[in-house]
Symmetry: C2
Subunit: 316 residues, 2 copies
Amino acid sequence: MNIAVVGCGAVGRAVCELAGSYGHRVTAIADSTSAAVDENGLDVTTVLDRKAERGTVGSGDREHALASEYDVLVEATPTTLGDAEPGFSHAERALARDAHVVLANKGPVAERYGDLRAAERDSAGTVLFEATVGGAIPILSTIADLGSEDVTAVRGVLNGTANFVLSRMSAEGLDYEHVLAEAQDLGVAETDPTFDVEGTDAALKCVILANVLGDGDVTLDDAQVEGITRLTPSALDLASEDGRTVRLVGEVTDGEDPTVRVGPRLVPEHGTLAVTGTQNIVQLETRHAGQLNLSGRGAGGRATASAVLADIGRLP
Amino acid sequence: MNIAVVGCGAVGRAVCELAGSYGHRVTAIADSTSAAVDENGLDVTTVLDRKAERGTVGSGDREHALASEYDVLVEATPTTLGDAEPGFSHAERALARDAHVVLANKGPVAERYGDLRAAERDSAGTVLFEATVGGAIPILSTIADLGSEDVTAVRGVLNGTANFVLSRMSAEGLDYEHVLAEAQDLGVAETDPTFDVEGTDAALKCVILANVLGDGDVTLDDAQVEGITRLTPSALDLASEDGRTVRLVGEVTDGEDPTVRVGPRLVPEHGTLAVTGTQNIVQLETRHAGQLNLSGRGAGGRATASAVLADIGRLP
């Protein structure tokens, strides 16, 4: 496949680096201000070295990349809420010319799922987005293989930063501000961690799952979301005395009107949901296959890129 | 898809029962002595009721089912070792007429993988076999999506009966014979449990994984296998004092010459591998996606049938 990668953060760069080993060719790379295009295949190392040294991937602009010839557009620009732009338009434009779209950007599938599926219906292209939920963990492909009708509920720990903070608070008896500062030093938490610790990121992933399981008209506005910022070490101690701990759990229940809730929940201390560090886990409740538990790295450039490349491999 | 189901045990029956809800049509059902065939689609309930009441599925014989028109042959006859017959010939014959084959029978993929892949190469049909490893757990599809080159090792608990016995011995301090008898009473263990407790079943699953990861010439003879029959409560106590427990763990390491080992192993008491009851778990070590943990029901008619139906959905 010839791949155009739009967005040149950790995931976009890792997709470019790994694509060759999966038998694909990167023909365009765009960041927010520049682009490199070669319809015979870019020398990825040269482009990414230039990005590291000079801050731009090439002399063209993003429009140049979007207008180039490719089979698959990998949309890896930052997630935006509301209109999910510019990611949505990038995807829509690729579909309009019958190309495939693989998303690492959660915006279009969390906030404009119905619009995106409508654009896909009018296209010979297919949209896949495994990388938007749980990084490397094969959650959406498992739901697709089982059939979304077979899945009755999904629950999981879907934000590594929040989980790192909670599991450190719990293990060390430290308070939220202290552990957050430590996580920021380690690069596990962003300078502005709001998106992670307030539950927004986990909620977006749950909204995507709700859209996959249901009719596809759920957005972040429909989710009940509570973060971890008000949790105290004493609350965690209390849980521990009862053999439990606290995790930021997202839940999606199936139905014509799926409900999405994210918030701190008591879970058994050694139970399946009590993953530690930046791990993510998802539990699928199914009609025929019982409960399936899938866990692994929920973030990280290479892990998330491997989900993008798995999607490319699944394209028709 | 029009499906012919050969083998009418728990898995074959559940495939027949669920096929309609996945949009497929069962056009032939065969057990060891009889068959029902209707190229317009069988009334599955009538056929299975007859099986329950009279011990036969219809007035035809298995040959009648094998010679009928179908798109996919579901091979769900009991696993046999060595030449893997008659399962292997059923699969070979379906491929020879360019039909697809979905296996629930481990024999052909554990003992004659190379022969089966050779038959597939000469056919327009595809062979899939998710149900042969870990029941409902999406192990082989995850490996296929990641690319088998990305997976460097697999380790897991792949036999529910052995795990039930070990986790009960561990939790209750009871001896092997006692817990085995209990498992037999509950229907978790067979009257002759050799296949499960000696590690053969787990080893076959690991051999299949080794074939998928490597060159495909591994058989049960290449596996180092030790069962759980000699484990004592005192060995489990000793492990427990050290915060560990014992599980029957299968391991496959990658390489041109993959190694397969199955045996009792010390694992952390609350660690990921210490699943309880009849649960199965698989850990995939990958180059790019880190470690992925997949757990769920490793056996059972409906759970295993859901893997067969997921495979049918993945057929090209």
